[in-house]
């Protein structure tokens, strides 16, 4: 038995899984690296066998958390499938990879098996040039859809005949979206028939930038991926790097990191609650939550000196220590915040109109949620108990440091997502309090001071950002700069899953459904030439675009 029901919890046996995997993949099966007490297992196989492995591993409830590639130079392109089983067995990850030839990197697509790898494979096609066979939707994701070809060969503006169903563009610039994302929504009156999502309006190439900077500088680079979850990116990065370098972080530093991450989560969730309020027209809620949130920002400023970007962690520990006086002040402010937060959450719970606008809207049931591979509070609101903090504990989230519980809700709708985030805020306050208590008790160094060498190797690191599971994959070649840095952000998954949430509801529900996954386009992602408006499709050729642009100059 591979899957064992153990007291209601589904458990899998690692050895049996590996045995079965060996049978499927043989003779191309080679365990090349075992990490973290045997829980991160790297397996080399051939590219054609990846599909069989995917069928098997998805069947036993594995999560394909990322598909990415690393350029190994003359050796070829290394294509990785990162599977996570940490919701079944703590910390368990299987990383399957195949080396593809440089001249013709072709691999089978797993996107038809699961929607989880759809966007990831499209990204890999774009960034690494790997060709995926039989991909159901092989369009560009970060580049414009038509790149590098001009859209149409004709040099004229082309008008497609008017349809009955109006196509409404939501984005890239729209009042409902704070950042640039493009939702092509087909409506019949107010009812939504179909939605198409395009991201990539803010692609900054941070993954490439990180490969040209040293490991130490990257900590501050990756915190710039997203302004709101700015501590979670370094923590996931450090989780991978410290594991690779075999560095032990002192306990006190762990508590400081956890405290900062939780403060980050509190302010992110409250920021979201306000924005969600605005999306259903409750502007007063926005102002109230953002005022309460200032107290948390004050705590962050008190500890780190900055209101937004904390920049408080480095490899091996923390840059910043808390004095007893600071601990008392932070505790005071958090208690003040808690009383305000409870009042605001009561208002949200009790308001009939909030309930009316959010109940049974944007429903994503568990089987669909698993197929779409959503993460974070959105997944927990669909009743899926996945939380990196509990499943593969890092820093001071383990049971030996702090005690807390994962918040889930069975509602699967927008209201459930509101409830999960509200409860999580209160849980986070509790974790902060525990960390503050521990900081008074645990003394010692806050940074790893021993010398170490940079080994060759690879590692994955995860952290739970306010929006969900964040993945970093790092390859070191023994030099001061990482060879490869790959980032899989939570919003990447959640925005892709919007495809399943939006159709079937009315136009008035679109902003709150998009808002309910807490989309962070800065995490996820340039200018589209196709402009669609009231059913007419006006397509501009690249030549004409250049001509017009030059004429204007």
């Amino acid at each position: 038995m591979i899957i064992q029901a153990n007291g209601g919890n589904i458990m899998i046996n690692v050895k049996e899984v590996l045995g079965k995997l060996r049978d499927i993949l043989s003779p191309d099966f080679q365990v090349t690296r075992i990490d973290r007490n045997g829980r991160h297992i790297y397996i080399e196989t051939s590219s054609q066998k990846l599909l069989d492995a995917a069928k098997f591993l998805l069947d036993i409830d594995g999560r394909l958390i990322h598909v990415t590639a690393s350029d190994l130079g003359f050796r070829g392109i290394k294509l990785l499938h990162v599977y996570s089983f940490d919701h079944l067995v703590k910390n368990l990850h299987l990383i399957l990879y195949a080396i593809l030839p440089r001249d013709n990197p072709v691999a089978p697509s797993t996107a038809s098996l699961t929607y989880q790898s759809n966007w990831a494979e499209r990204e890999t096609m774009e960034l690494m040039g790997v060709k995926f066979e039989n991909h159901p939707d092989p369009r560009h994701i970060f580049l414009p859809f038509e790149w590098p070809e001009p859209v149409e060969s004709s040099k004229e503006w082309k008008t497609v005949k008017l349809e009955r169903n109006v196509i409404l563009p939501i984005g890239p610039y729209h009042p409902a979206l704070i950042e640039g994302g493009y939702f092509k929504i087909k409506v019949d009156g107010e009812d939504i028939l179909d939605v198409d999502i395009k991201v990539g309006f803010n692609h900054r190439g941070i993954m490439r930038l990180a490969e040209r900077r040293s490991f130490w500088k990257n900590v501050f680079l990756v915190s710039r991926v997203c302004g709101i979850c700015n501590i979670c990116h370094p923590l996931a990065y450090l989780n991978a790097v410290e594991n690779l370098f075999k560095i032990d972080v002192p306990d006190r530093a762990k508590y400081i990191r956890t405290l900062l991450a939780e403060l980050n989560r509190i302010h992110s969730h409250f920021l979201w609650l306000g924005v969600a309020g605005e999306l259903i027209g409750f502007k007063t809620l926005l102002m109230w939550t953002w005022k309460a949130r200032e107290l948390v920002q004050d705590c962050v400023e008190l500890i780190t000196g900055n209101r937004v970007h904390m920049d408080a962690v480095i490899i091996g520990g923390s840059r910043i220590d808390l004095t007893d006086e600071m601990i008392n002040k932070v505790r005071e402010k958090l208690l003040a915040f808690k009383s305000q937060a409870e009042r605001i959450i009561d208002i949200v719970y009790d308001s009939g109109l909030v309930r009316k606008r959010t109940e049974n809207i944007g429903v994503l049931k568990l089987p669909e949620a698993k197929n779409a591979g959503i993460v974070g509070p959105t997944a927990r609101a669909s009743g899926w108990k996945i939380d990196v903090r509990k499943d593969s504990p890092y820093d001071a989230y383990g049971d030996e440091y702090t005690s807390w519980d994962v918040v889930t809700d069975e509602g699967s709708d927008v209201l459930a997502r509101v409830i999960v985030r509200c409860k999580e805020t209160l849980v986070s306050i509790d974790i902060c309090m525990q960390c503050l208590d521990a900081l008074k008790r645990v003394h010692g160094p806050i940074i790893h001071k021993e010398r170490f060498e940079i080994p060759e190797g690879e590692a994955i690191g995860k952290s739970e950002a306010p929006r969900g599971e964040l993945l970093y994959y790092i390859v070191s070649n023994g030099t001061i700069n990482p060879h490869t840095v790959r980032i899989r952000t939570p919003s990447y998954r959640n925005i892709a899953a919007l495809k399943y949430m939006i159709p079937g509801y009315t136009l008035a529900d679109v902003p709150i459904i998009i808002g309910s996954v807490d989309p962070c386009f800065a995490c996820t992602d340039r200018v589209i030439i196709v402009d669609e408006k009231h059913g007419k499709k006006q397509v501009m050729s690249y030549d004409l675009f250049l001509k017009k642009y030059l004429k204007r100059r």
Binding site: V166, L168, H174, P175, A176, G189, E190, G277, E278, L279, I280, G281, F282, K283, T284, L285, L286, M287, W288, K291, S351, L353, V354, K356, R357, T506, L507, A508, D509, V510, P511, K533, H534
Partner: protein, 326 residues
């Protein structure tokens, strides 16, 4: 006092009052959110820059728009697009003449002024709709559709609650209704259900929360006004200011005896103005503390809550009438 002079004075009062009431809605909305809103008295260091008060902020908004370029999209049907804001402004000014400003009015003493007023109020909204529908922007069309749905539902309860008052007072003249209240009691005490439905209908007519569905900026940008800019948008703003005054004054005339507490017109006008501020305060408080309905929810809510209540108020009025109390 001659007819034209009276009309001019009422237009001026309506204009100033419209700006002050709009200011009040913004101010209460801001204070409920821990914001300052437009300042009643500007900080000393900013006085040179901003002037001593920003009570006239809604006026400055409109003046700014009049300085701006008016863009008319090619896809619009031009005549309707330009003419409908103008007509809705004219109608909203015209609607002022039918309400009694503390006994001070032009047409309120006519026999069927109540019916006239309701016609004009519907016409203002309809011309907003015609203008926005002619703009052929998808946002504006969806906004128009929503506004039209809301119009059908809200207008009914407004109509019924106004007529239930007419039944009590046995008159269709607004002046007569006000006099009937002076002799008996303000009708808010006689028929509070009609007052509630009327107040809620005002929210819908003025596109205040929870009925600002046609202007839900996160969904449909700015709804019916999406393609309007510059002077035409300024006209729409102005007509909204006038309409605010008319509706609030209409409420006071029907339910609060038109502010007429004595035989002195000046004192009555002052009482009337104070009452408009109070009624607007209640409206803006609801506006501040409510999220937005979806259009289907709003329609259903109006259908299941406001329509029965207004019909009950109508029956109640008929009973009172048949008892011959008033």
């Amino acid at each position: 006092m001659s007819f034209i002079l009276k009309a001019l004075i009422i237009t001026l009062i309506g204009f100033i009052l419209g700006i002050i009431l709009t200011f009040e809605i913004r101010k209460v909305f801001a204070r409920a959110q821990y914001r300052l809103g437009p300042l009643t008295s500007v900080y000393p260091e900013l006085k040179a820059l901003l002037g001593s008060t920003r009570i006239l902020q809604p006026l400055y908004d409109v003046l700014k728009l009049f300085y701006k370029e008016t863009i008319i999209p090619q896809t619009t049907s031009k005549i309707l697009f330009i003419i409908s804001p103008v007509i809705s402004l004219l109608l909203s000014v015209f609607s002022l003449y039918f309400v009694s400003f503390g006994g001070f009015s032009v047409f309120a003493n006519r026999d069927h002024s109540l019916i006239w007023l309701i016609y004009v109020l519907i016409a203002i909204t309809i011309f907003w709709l015609i203008g926005s529908a002619s703009s052929s922007s998808p946002w504006a069309i969806i906004g128009t559709r929503r506004e039209a749905e809301l119009l059908f539902s809200i207008e009914f309860s407004l109509l019924i609650s106004a007529f239930s008052i007419a039944i009590i007072s046995n008159s269709l003249s607004i002046q007569e209704i006000v006099y009937a209240q002076r002799e008996f009691l303000p009708f808010i005490l006689v028929n509070p259900m009609a007052a509630i439905t009327f107040l809620l209908s005002i929210l819908g007519k003025l596109r205040l929360k929870p009925f600002d569905i046609s202007e839900a900026e996160v969904e449909i940008v700015s709804g019916p006004c999406t393609e309007y800019s510059g002077k035409l948008l300024g006209l729409i703003y102005l007509s909204k200011y006038f309409m605010t005054v008319t509706l609030v004054a209409f409420f006071i005339d029907l339910f609060l005896a038109g502010g007429q507490i004595s035989n002195f017109t000046l004192l009555n006008v002052i009482t009337f103005i104070i009452l408009t501020l109070i009624v607007t305060f209640i409206l803006s408080l609801i506006h501040a503390l409510m999220p937005r309905f979806k259009i289907d929810q709003a329609f259903k809510w109006v259908l299941t809550r406001m329509w029965p209540l207004s019909i009950i108020s109508l029956i109640f009025s008929l009973i009172i009438r048949s008892l011959g109390v008033v």
